[in-house]
Each structure stands twice: as C-alpha cells, then as structure tokens.
C-alpha cells in the first residue's frame, strides 16, 4: 500500500514539505493536506496591503498545482486532535484521517494586547490574509493609524501604511523599538530615521484601553496623553497554534521538541516552522525560530525524510531584514549574545551602523543598518550572513574586521568563505527551481 503522508498546515513549511516529498520519493505515495486557509505566502501580504500586487499574487499553490502534485485537500478545515497510537487525525468537521506519517506545521497566530477594547471594531491584527483584507478596508488616504507594538511585524507593514497616504503613530511598551531585532544603538538610529520621515513614535507606554469615540478610536495609556485615531493595528506578538495538540502525547516546550530529522518524540510525527523547537545553528540549543527561512528549510528536511531519504538538519539561523522609508535594518545569528566579543561602529552622517559579534575567531552574530541605496549596506548584508552561517575561522581577519567593520568583503573573501559555502546544501543535492515543479510519481 502506498505510504500515506498527512500535512497539517498549508503555510511555507507544509508547502515545502509536499513539494520535497514529490521531488524525493521513489515510489508513489498519498499526500493529504489539511489547511485552515487556502495556501498563501504571509511574506508578501505587505505588498498586497500597499496594492503593489493583486490578491491573486499571494497564493502559493493553485488548485491545479495541488492536483499536479496529486494532493488530497481539506481546505478550510482545522485539525482538532491527533491520536498517535491509532495514527488518526480528527478535523473540526469530524473527518478522521489515517496516516503513516504526519507533519504538524500549523504555524502561529497574532496575539493582541490584553486590554479592554482590543477586540472592538477598527482594531486589527495583520497576520493572516483575512486580517490583511480587514486592514486594507480600514485604511484610506489621510487615515490616522496607530500601530501597537514596534517589533518586526509592524515594521514589515510600515512602508505600506505610509504609501497608502495614512498618518502613522507607533506605540511600544518597551523602552525602545525593535527589541528583538537590533540593539539599543541600532534602535535609536532607526527611531530617529522614522521620526525624520514623519512617523510618530512613542516608546515606554503601556496601553490601558481602547474606546470608541464617535467613529474614531481613543487609546488610553497608563501614563501620558491619549491618542485619537481612525484605526488600530495590534502587532503585539504571535503564539504557536498548538492548543489542539494538548494531551496528544507530543512533547511540547516552547514548540514541539524535534530531533535532527525534525521528528517529535513520536517518530512518525514531524514538526516544522513556527511550531517546531529545533536546533539553533549557532548555539546548538533548542529554539523556536518563527521566521520564513526556517519554515522553508524545516519543510524541505521533513519532506525528504518523509519520502524515505534520511537527511539531518544542521540547524536554523535567525536572519531578519526590514526596510523602513529606505533604511535597511538586518540582523543575523546571535546578535544579542552578551558573552560574545563585540565591536560596533556608528556613522551618523551616513545613517549607517554595524555591530559584529565574535566567539573565538568566528563571527556568530551581526547587525547592519544603512540606507537601502548605500552600497556599503547592500554589498555586505549577504556576506555577513555567509560568515555567520559558515562560522569560518577568521584568523587574522578577525582583527581586520574589528578595525574595519565596514569592510566585510575583504575578510569574507580572504577567509575563503566561498570554499566552505560551495559544497553546502540543505538536502545534500542541488535545489530544483520552483518552475520545475515535480509531479506525482
């Protein structure tokens, strides 16, 4: 009998897993997909918000594509329970699906600040496609938008909101913006850049309640003046979608604890993406990395293993980039490691900042901020990732980098980072182009 693969979640991890199964399998297998939403890419929703792309552009798999992969779909359905002894998954409509192996890739959901009025009209999250539609309907030219939370999510849609002609105010509980992406100096640079570009930023403020005020929203804080606005976007964090798995016998800490092949404590149950607590490439410790590249790599590793090709995962690297008003801010790896040897340099006249973190003679973390058209920045973002990803021994070029943090290229090339990178692949073979979509065997 053909192996029955069950994929729960149609996001990046699930899509990559299905595609890799079809790329790797030697014998025909059955794939069933359970997904609450029609598969789309969350990464591109900001471009849908600013009307750069049409809604049709966000979808990652058409019905035709899924048919080509011979995937049986349960779209619009959620998994409600998993019986790991009987190998059966139950859906919210009562459907029972038997599987031989299964991938849990149910992702995460937006969380709103727990204040009165947080669920009222005109208060949005921006995470799912449905939520994006809500925000689109709520913003016109001149709309005053208050974004609650100054983290990565709010920064990904900041440009879009401004380009729609809205007036933007950002309020943040922490003393500074981007607390999980850049350090204090970097945050200060980005914050002053934003203010210079007409964005109001208030840090260190605790939202107390949101009230309706004659068609507008009134935000009250535990201290300081209130804000009257037209729309509120809550970008106050995400949580993993794992409640449905409680009591199923799957070992869950921050996420589902997985081994180097992304298997949970139940060997035929895999986890990938935001719900998986896998290996951090730099520290080797278990961590949840709720970012797109991790979901993609996790998904491919799971797909290969499900298809019978044992592939171990080296671990995921935290990488993030946001552009706000033509200023790029990116960070890599253990950029906030207090034990690392750090060197930083700020060039205020160029709005450029670097922080490099070393462990021994390896680069283990980096922050880079600079204007999007500044060749200093654009030349170096990828190379910093390469240095952190490979962990090449820098030797004498460590001191060179410490003296010249704005000249990464010399150290990158002279440390022969390219030699280390060339044989590296995630699946132990060259990747296939997305256009070469494999068909079901």
């Amino acid at each position: 009998m053909a192996t029955r693969h069950l994929i729960i979640g149609g996001g990046t991890a699930g899509m990559n897993a299905m595609r890799t199964i079809r790329e790797e399998e030697r014998e025909p297998s059955e794939i069933t997909l359970v997904t609450a939403e029609r598969p789309y890419s969350r990464m591109v929703l900001p471009y849908y918000l600013d009307r750069t792309i049409a809604e049709s552009h966000v979808f990652t798999a058409t019905a035709a594509q899924l048919a080509k992969w011979n995937v049986k779909t349960h779209i619009g359905r959620r998994a409600t329970g998993l019986d790991v002894k009987l190998n059966v998954c139950t859906l919210d409509d009562g459907t029972r699906i038997e599987y031989d192996d299964c991938l849990i890739a149910t992702g995460s959901s937006a969380v709103r600040a727990p204040v009165p009025g947080a669920d009222g009209p005109g208060v949005h999250s921006f995470w799912t496609l449905d939520e994006a539609r809500g925000v689109i309907a709520g913003i016109q030219r001149g709309t005053h938008v208050v974004m609650v939370g100054a983290g990565f999510i709010s920064f990904t849609i900041l440009n879009s909101i401004l380009s729609l002609g809205a007036k933007l105010t950002i309020v943040e509980l922490a003393p500074r913006i981007l607390p999980r992406m850049v350090d204090d100096v970097g945050a200060e640079l980005v914050e002053s850049w934003l203010k210079a570009h007409g964005v109001a930023v208030r840090t260190n403020v605790k939202l107390a309640r949101i009230e309706d005020a004659k068609g507008k929203k009134r935000l009250k804080f535990s201290a300081g003046p209130e804000i009257l606005c037209d729309a509120v976007i809550m970008a106050t964090g995400i949580k993993t979608n794992l409640e449905w798995l409680k009591g199923a016998g799957i070992n869950i800490r921050q996420g589902i604890v997985v081994d180097e092949r992304l298997r949970s404590n139940v060997p035929n149950v895999y986890a990938a993406g935001d719900v998986a607590e896998g290996r951090d490439l730099i520290s080797g410790a278990a961590a949840v990395h709720a970012i797109e590249p991790t979901a993609q790599e996790h998904g491919r590793i799971v797909g290969a293993n499900m298809a019978g090709k044992p592939v171990a995962y080296k671990g995921s690297l935290i990488i993030n980039i946001v552009e706000v008003c033509h200023l790029d801010a990116a960070s890599f790896g253990a950029w906030d490691d207090g034990k690392a040897e750090a060197v930083s340099s700020l060039k205020k006249d160029r709005n450029a900042y670097r922080k490099l973190l070393f462990t021994g003679d390896r680069l283990t973390g980096a922050i880079i901020i600079g204007r999007s058209n500044d060749i200093w920045t654009t030349n170096d973002v990828g190379m910093l990732k390469g240095l952190v990803q490979t962990g090449v021994s820098l030797g004498q070029f460590k001191d060179y980098l410490k003296m010249n943090p704005f000249d990464v290229k010399t150290a990158f090339i002279a440390s022969k980072t390219t030699s280390t990178l060339l044989p590296e692949t995630v699946l132990g073979r060259p990747s296939k182009a997305p256009g070469d979509s494999p068909v079901a065997v």
Partner: protein, 158 residues
C-alpha cells in the same frame, strides 16, 4: 554548465566588466547596478571581480516566498521581475552577498549569466573573466588571502 571563471591575477581593475554588466542588466552605464563587483586588494594595487557562483543550493531561490527565482536556460538563478515583490529575503538569504535590491524597480536583481552570453566576460580585456565549462570554485580566496594578509602584516596588524 558554463560558469564565470575568474583569474584574479589577470584583473587590472579597469571596471569594464561592471560597466558592461550594468548596461546589459539595466540599460544604464551605472557600476552601482552591476552584479559583478570589482574589489581592491593589497592597498589598491591589485583588484579582482566578484560575482554569483550560481551555487548548488541556490539560497536565494529556495528562500523566495513566491517562487520568483528560477533557473534559466544557462543554468543561472534568475529573478522573475513580474513575480518578485521586493521583500529582500533573498538578499539576506544569499550567504555570498551577490543578490541585490534595486530601489528604483523595487525588485531583487542578481547575475543571470546574461542568459548564456555574459557581457562581463566579453568586456574583460585581459581574460580575467572567462565563460567556461568548468566546475565553479573559490576563484578569489587564495589570491585575497595572500594579498590582504600582506597588507595586514605590513600595517603591523596582529
């Protein structure tokens, strides 16, 4: 597959490759938009061009959330402008630092081997850049290590 074979010892730093590349890729003579970039070594007494290796993993291609990077007929990873939304994920996923972002078009751009007829190799007057059927390699590593190391030593760096 044919690749850009770089012989750094032959490079004179004339930047013709950058000019040719930017013209072919963007229609403008603008080295800042070239996807092959010449770097100075040994205190600006020697130079070498650096560009995409068309690596096996294709980190840019696998990272793209919308499948906007594909493999063209020359075997090069190539950005499909109509599909790219400009999210920049490929620019930080590429560990070689050879995927760029055009602030004018708001798209990513990279070496696509000019579809199999690379302008940089044509433009290079000293054959420092050749388009050949060889395995790609770390063309610059030893060259840069020797020359940059030499500068460090004379500068008294540890």
């Amino acid at each position: 597959m044919r690749v850009l074979k770089i012989t750094p010892e032959r490079c004179t730093g004339c930047l013709r490759c950058e000019i040719a590349c930017s013209y072919m890729q963007t229609g403008t003579y603008q080295p800042a938009k070239s996807v092959i970039r010449v770097s100075p070594f040994e205190g600006h007494t020697s130079y070498a061009p650096y560009t995409c290796t068309q690596c096996a993993e294709g980190w840019c291609m696998t990272a793209c959330p919308v499948g906007a990077i594909t493999i063209n007929s020359a075997g090069a990873k190539d950005v499909l402008d109509d599909t790219c939304v400009g999210c920049k994920l490929c620019t930080i996923a590429c560990p070689y630092g050879t995927v760029f972002y055009d602030t004018g078009t708001r798209k990513a751009f990279k070496c696509n081997l000019c579809g199999g007829d690379p302008a940089c190799a044509h433009a290079c007057p000293t054959a420092a850049i050749e388009y050949e059927e060889v395995a790609t390699a770390d063309w610059l590593g030893d060259f840069a290590r020797e020359r940059a190391g030499h500068v460090l030593a004379t500068a008294g760096a540890r």
